[in-house]
């Protein structure tokens, strides 16, 4: 029997102020978006071997192109238990009918609930808001008008291929929108949907317009990074449902069947650095969550003693899952991660941030991946007992490796052990530096009993979910439990090096851009590929979404948001469409009848409504985006983010108070970058500069960001630099630079060769 599912389960669209041009969301980690035509059909390279990657992020008027979230239907059956894309014309079945797929209807419902939701305040509300917790726009009693609710839209792949989430309600729905006359920008649409020629759905988000309904002297103004009364933006999210129309030869009639469950579209701000991963991606957060809370891979994380024969927890069986969760769960100590697939992409990342901030670019490159560095993959990737042909150091040289520092002297090794596994101290040193569970608030371990790394800051040294207040302080980011587990296995030598095993070729493997570049093989890879380009922390509130994504209650199953199906599904059932003998060209939403506006609250038992994921995020988004460069974290006491020595006239405390300027997430919000200034001898010329110069880190700057966000440059991997993927970074070496900043857009496409460099044809 066949099952039909929409993938990706969560799709990411991104705003842009170009109302005409757009591209398709990347579907592989750290991938560039795909170019498409005006109907959303992907452009193929000249030899048809692959997609054309985007090289211009702005349209001819200098406006940012929107990123479309593309959804498609996969079929799961005996032939392909892991799913394959469904195509028009394929044989399908369902609901007791079978026939040829002649059309796909898509139903999308986007909304924005930010302005009626609770005020965002660090981690408050992560496990439910108290009844008296303050709302945004608390003085407004008509709460419904604060929700931007354009109503649902339905399209098909034949005669009704576009719809807009505008004020019109499409003639059948009483839409609610903010009043017109917002300053500086009105919001008249949350975006639009369309189908491409293959029947796939494209969701385009808003135009990045934000405005305040408060008038008068000094208005509009911004006075908070996340909560600003009177303000709206055009970010949104909501369910995506599909209905398959088949022509049944058996009865000579059209029959309908719905896919198994809705998917979800999330609209976010632009990804200005598409090719650099965040230290933790949303994919990594969710994978870890599903392993631990959904028994996603019981051979990796499961019941103690069950790993020889991993158990299966039936999907959707809450009782079995609760039983499993209540058992003695642990990580499989025999699990061997792969170095280049699993370990190296984590360790590779921090060095990339030197292209995005002064702090790292001008330091002594602590994440150096060259031969002298602490992060040389050819050393830290060598498995115990493997004598590496390319190893240039003798075991006795190791003690002279300055990068080992105190860790080496602190680690006593027998000589024979040392020769068998010469790089064990390097691995252990890196692992010891990692912030573990329970150390979220530790800047460094100092001289605590059992200290692993004396007086060195723990890593990652990035802001955590709450470096601001004293309620559930979480000063620093830490890796997920899964990441820490596989890194521990690696540190202990329990890992596989694919090069040693001959699975990958040292000469050609892109060690210094270690991401898969081939299209996702199945629906699950598509789910994960899309999410890998979204931010996985810190959540304060975050990039695309906040901490709500790690709440198991919002999922129907891994990678699928639990939807309130009374809002997500087509208004008439597929069986009713069969009964009505409805022609596929007619989309029946006229029986639409609703007796409740979109909810002001959550109902996780029923499922999420449109707008329920993005409502936690800052309003307007530009305020938080602008401010999320660095945060000065008070590290005087682990448990306290704010202390008040002045209140007690505590001179000692004032004297001993310690602060650390900490980055948020440079790959989502760069601080500095090399900027393209011209070409010389066919090579790019760049200048190191503030990425968002002219927009200061103040509330006035936040307001300016509302106007100027689209003028910022996009930072890409230098297409002119040879062998960039197989040679290590040597510091700020120009392998990334910013293009298309306002006023310099013409520099982006100087040379027709560039296209060939970004999109090389297949080698023949």
């Amino acid at each position: 029997m066949a099952t039909y599912k929409i993938h990706p389960g969560i799709g990411i669209a991104r705003v842009g102020n170009s109302d005409t041009e757009f591209y398709l969301a990347p579907e592989v980690p750290a991938g560039l978006p795909h170019a498409c035509d005006a109907a959303g059909n992907p452009l193929l390279s000249d030899d048809l071997s692959g997609p054309v990657l985007v090289k211009n992020f702005k349209d001819k008027n200098g406006r940012i192109k929107r990123q479309a979230a593309r959804f498609q239907v996969y079929v799961y059956d005996d032939e392909t238990p892991h799913g394959r894309p469904l195509k028009l014309g394929d044989a399908i079945e369902g609901g007791g009918n079978r026939g040829k797929l002649i059309d796909i209807q898509w139903r999308v419902y986007l909304a924005n609930k930010k302005s009626s939701w609770y005020e965002f305040n660090t981690r408050s509300g992560e496990h439910g808001y108290a009844a008296d917790y303050p709302r945004r726009n608390a003085s407004i009693t008509n709460r419904d008008r604060l929700v931007i609710d354009p109503g649902p839209r339905t399209i098909n792949s034949t005669n009704s291929r576009r719809a807009s989430f505008d004020r019109s309600g499409n003639g059948i729905y009483a839409a609610t929108f903010p009043p017109q006359g917002l300053k500086p920008h009105d919001i008249d649409t949350l975006g639009e949907i369309m189908t491409d020629d293959s029947g796939r759905l494209l969701v385009l988000g808003g135009l990045g317009r934000s405005g305040s309904e408060i008038a008068g002297p000094g208005e509009p103004h911004i006075s908070h990074y996340a909560n600003n009364d009177g303000w709206y933006d055009d970010i949104s999210d909501g369910p995506v449902m599909a209905r398959l129309a088949m022509y049944s030869d058996q009865v000579g009639a059209i029959r309908y069947i719905d896919v198994e469950y809705p998917a979800w579209a999330v609209v976010a701000y632009p990804r200005f650095v598409p090719q650099i991963h965040d230290m933790i991606t949303m994919d990594e957060v969710l994978y870890d969550l599903f392993l631990r809370e959904f028994a996603y891979d019981t051979g990796l994380y499961g019941r103690l003693g069950s790993f020889a024969c991993p158990e299966t927890v039936p999907a959707g069986n809450q009782t079995a899952l609760s039983q499993w969760l209540a058992s003695r769960l642990t990580w499989n100590k025999d699990f061997k991660p792969w170095f280049y697939r699993d370990i190296w992409p984590i360790l590779f990342r921090p060095n990339e941030f030197l292209y995005l901030s002064d702090i790292l670019a001008q330091s002594n490159f602590p994440h150096d991946q060259e031969q002298r560095g602490t992060f040389d993959p050819f050393k830290i990737g060598q498995t115990p007992g493997y004598v590496h042909k390319h190893a240039t150091m003798k075991p006795e040289d190791i003690c002279r490796d300055a990068s080992l520092g105190e860790a080496f002297t602190a680690t006593s090794q027998h000589f024979d052990e040392q020769s068998r596994d010469p790089y064990r101290p390097m691995r252990q040193f890196l692992f010891d530096l990692l912030r573990r569970s329970g150390e979220d608030n530790e800047f460094k371990l100092e001289d605590k009993v059992g200290s692993r790394v004396h007086n060195l800051p723990l890593m990652p040294l990035l802001c955590g979910d709450n470096p601001l207040t004293n309620e559930v302080a979480t000063k620093f980011l830490r890796l997920t439990d899964y990441q820490l587990f596989i890194l521990k296995q690696w540190a202990e030598g329990k890992f596989i090096n694919e090069m040693e095993q001959g699975w990958i070729n040292r000469e050609t493997y892109p060690v210094f851009f270690p991401y898969p570049s081939t299209a996702p093989k199945n629906g699950r890879e598509l789910d994960r590929g899309v999410l890998s380009n979204a931010l996985g922390g810190a959540f304060c509130p975050g990039g695309e979404l906040n901490w709500i994504i790690r709440n198991p209650s919002i999922y129907w199953e891994p990678y699928r948001i639990k939807a309130d199906r009374s809002l997500a599904d087509f208004l008439q059932s597929a069986a009713q469409a069969n009964a009505n003998r409805q022609p596929t060209s007619v989309i029946e939403e006229l029986s639409f009848s609703v007796n409740n506006p979109l909810s002001q609250d959550n109902d996780f038992a029923t499922g999420l409504q449109p707008g329920d994921l993005t409502k936690y995020m800052a309003v307007p988004w530009q305020a938080d985006f602008n401010e999320c460069t660095t945060n000065t974290i008070n590290i005087t006491y682990a448990d306290w983010n704010t202390i008040n020595p002045g209140g007690d006239n505590d001179q000692r405390l004032k004297r001993e108070e310690k602060m650390w300027d900490t980055l948020w997430w440079p790959a989502h919000r760069p601080l500095q970058s090399s900027e393209l200034t011209g070409f010389k001898d066919g090579q790019p010329v760049t200048a190191w500069t503030d990425w968002s110069r002219g927009i200061q880190q103040t509330y006035a700057g936040d307001l300016k960001m509302v106007e100027d966000w689209w003028k910022l440059g996009f930072i890409i991997r230098n297409p002119y630099m040879p062998n960039i993927d197989t040679t290590p970074s040597t510091g700020p070496d120009g392998r990334y630079y910013s293009i298309e900043r306002y006023g310099s857009e013409q520099l982006a496409a100087p040379d027709p060769q560039l296209s060939a460099i970004i999109n090389p044809g297949k080698k023949t």
Binding site: E93, S248, Q250, Q572, A579
Partner: protein, 701 residues
């Protein structure tokens, strides 16, 4: 002597296969290198990254019951990690490791099979390719003790008689096609009783008044469909039970093979028990009532119909047979034709489930697919519908999106249209000589969707003779207004209810939206109908009860062989149930065997195809109370005894015997004979312990 080239050993061939596949790969397998190249002993021990490629030899271990048992995960070839790895199965599916051999090409399925069977044979080192022979396994004949002869085989309960109903015990709605003549007769008598009450128009119990409830109140096309009909079936079942308390309404499983769902017009069309036939007595009456009297040959032909119980799916098929084959031509389709009336009377008297205003599968010579654009439901259709994951898609939408569910819209509507059908003799002046094709009016394109407006209900006197003789355009099942006047309505809707009951187990929390809505004309709410157990029934394909009696302990229970016909054999689950077992003073095991009447405590369990399963019962131990403290309580509590359940309330037990029953039936058994033995703590039979009311064998769908 000529030197003969030594033939290659099987191990040598294994090495060759793997080396050819590995080709130039330099993979070192976590340090072990080409683990297959270093001899059989090393290969048996080989592990890559902690994964043993060949599992260790199975150990003979003693289980707690004193029997020898093989350790699970034995060294079979297909289960070995080497073979899994060559096939690219987990963990060699690319998640933990790539497919074996690393860096080389995949091994062909034939070669993998060769390696697998070599492992199966214990990885011999030096046997040669041409000497392989399949080993012949000698089975010892199972020891049979003769001491059981004196134990009589227990009879099945009389057909149609049910297990005594005890508090909390559900009763079984069974499969119509698995019912025998006796059961059908009892059900038919109850139907006739309700028909007879039609003479008192004010009697709410009469068949017509029950059918009128559907005419006036039935719910279709939205979420109340399933709930309303569950209550309706229960009410009707109670009505039947007023006449015969053992009656449970049966279900018609439309997708069973005899209906040939893919070409349903060539299958049974409707259950045989609902088709027209003549009893010998009615055949005589018919012959006597015809005017002019039929010829001797014709009389004989009528008698033959009864003798062979020839079945007709509808009156039109019957009358064409009489007219064209028997050759009795003094009959026309006219409603007032006296001979036609006589014959309809005889058919009605012969079978209480037959209904003249029913024209199944008749659509003017077309198939239902062609005429109505609906298709007869198949097993895979039902599987698809059962896989729907929300109530609206399965059972219909709420008031705000009043939408059909798939179960309602497709198989349910289709079965109404299928059994109703179109009367080929609608209209005037036709003769039974004409084939049905010419008499039919063209079918409107949307007949299926407008089925409820197709039948006239007003002005009719249902179940009156004049109504039974009429020639309407459509069968009564075609429309909701008239459907339940046709008795085939019930088994169809019981099956719809059964499918909901099945689906509820798959989707325990999926419910209609409005749970507090009243289901008029009763006082049930939708919520009240969610749990079918509240109405006291479950669904089984068929059930066979063997009364034992609580009077004395029984050491061993051997049933008479229970015939299992082909219709019953497609069961999903087979269960032996022990009914109403009082607390036992000592602990014991109950072992169940099928078709091994001589089984005793020494009968092997391992490898014995007749061993069906066991359960253990904890003994209650000696009573610490005074006289009467541990007496079994009365079957029903006294009035106003609202205390919690008595600690000695007898229990029911179940043993799942699906695998054993299925295997025996698959190897030719046509009967199943139950043997139950009671094993005490000393692993000997305990003949003075178990008491129970009876044993049953149940087949579940």
């Amino acid at each position: 002597m000529p030197t003969r080239k030594p033939p290659i050993t099987r191990y040598g061939r294994v090495r060759k296969i793997l080396n050819e596949a590995a080709a130039a790969s330099t993979a070192d397998y976590g340090g072990t290198g080409r683990f297959w190249d270093h001899g059989v002993k090393q290969l048996k021990e080989a592990a890559i990254h902690g994964v043993r490629l060949l599992a260790p030899e199975p150990e003979q271990t003693k289980t707690c019951c004193g029997h020898t048992a093989e350790k699970t995960g034995c060294a079979s070839g297909s289960a070995s990690m080497l073979v899994r790895g060559l096939k690219g199965e987990a963990p060699f599916d690319g998640s933990r490791f790539p497919r074996l051999p690393w860096g080389g090409k995949a091994v062909s399925p034939e070669d993998i099979e060769f390696i697998s069977s070599w492992i199966d044979d214990g990885c011999p080192e030096d046997d040669h390719l041409h000497t392989i022979e399949a080993g012949i396994q000698h089975c010892e004949t199972l020891p049979v003790r003769l001491s059981v002869h004196e134990i009589a085989e227990l009879d099945l309960a009389a057909k149609g008689a049910r297990a005594p109903s005890r508090p909390g015990e559900l009763r079984q709605r069974g499969n119509l096609d698995c019912m025998d003549e006796e059961e059908l007769k009892r059900l038919g008598d109850a139907f006739r009783y309700l028909y007879s009450l039609n003479d008192w128009p004010e009697d709410i119990r009469s068949y017509n008044n029950q059918a009128l409830i559907h005419q006036n109140h039935c719910q279709h096309g939205w979420e109340r469909f399933l709930a309303w009909h569950r209550a309706y079936l229960y009410e009707f079942e109670q009505d039947l039970q007023d006449y015969d308390p053992d009656i449970m309404v049966p279900y018609w499983d439309w997708v069973m093979p005899q209906y040939r769902p893919d070409c349903a017009q060539d299958g049974w069309i409707i259950p045989r028990s609902f088709q027209a036939f003549l009893t010998p007595e009615q055949a005589e009456k018919l012959i006597a009532g015809l005017n002019p009297s039929p010829s001797a040959a014709q009389k004989n032909a009528f008698k033959q119909l009864a003798e062979h119980k020839r079945l007709f799916t509808s009156q039109s098929v019957f009358f064409r047979y009489v007219y064209n084959t028997i050759g009795y031509r003094h009959v026309t389709p006219q409603p007032d034709d006296a001979n036609r009336k006589c014959m309809i009377d005889a058919l009605l008297a012969s079978n209480p489930f037959w209904y003249p205003l029913r024209f199944p599968a008749e659509y003017g010579g077309k198939t239902i697919n062609e005429a109505i654009h609906y298709h007869y439901p198949s097993a895979s259709d039902i599987q698809q519908i059962l896989s729907l994951n929300n109530f609206r898609d399965f059972g219909g939408g709420s008031i705000y999106d009043a939408s059909f569910g798939f179960l309602d819209q497709n198989p349910h509507n289709t079965m109404h249209i299928w059994t109703g059908g179109m009367n080929p003799y609608y209209g005037d002046g036709k003769s039974y000589e004409e084939s049905c094709n010419t008499a039919c009016l063209p079918v409107q394109h949307n007949t299926g969707e407008q089925r409820n407006s197709m039948v006239r209900a007003g002005g009719r006197h249902f179940h009156s003779r004049s109504d039974m003789y009429s020639q309407p355009q459509y069968g009564d099942m075609f429309s909701n207004l008239t459907a339940s006047y046709d008795p085939v309505f019930w088994p169809i809707h019981v099956n719809v209810d059964r499918l909901w009951w099945e689906w509820q187990r798959l989707n325990p929390s999926a419910t209609p939206v409005e749970l507090d809505a009243i289901l008029s004309p009763w006082n049930y709410t939708v919520r009240d109908t969610l749990d079918a157990a509240r109405f006291g029934y479950e669904y089984v394909r068929s059930s066979h009860f063997i009364p034992v009696g609580l009077n004395a302990p029984i050491g061993r229970i051997i049933s008479k062989p229970i015939p299992v016909n082909t219709l019953t054999q497609g069961f999903r689950k087979a269960e032996i149930r022990l009914h109403w077992v009082p607390q036992l003073i000592r602990s014991c095991f109950i072992r169940a065997f099928l078709n091994q009447p001589g089984a005793d405590a020494k009968t092997p369990l391992q490898g014995n195809p007749h061993f069906a399963g066991y359960l253990s019962i904890f003994g209650h131990g000696a009573c610490y109370g005074g006289p009467g403290h541990c007496d079994a309580p009365p079957p029903r509590a006294r009035d106003y005894d609202h205390r919690t359940r008595n600690h000695n309330t007898p229990r029911n037990h179940r043993i799942d015997v699906t695998d054993c029953a299925r295997k025996l039936l698959a190897t030719g058994a046509r009967e199943l004979q139950i043997t139950i033995i009671v094993i005490g703590a000393d692993y000997e039979e305990d003949v003075d312990l178990l008491k129970l009311e009876g044993v049953s064998l149940n087949f579940l769908d």
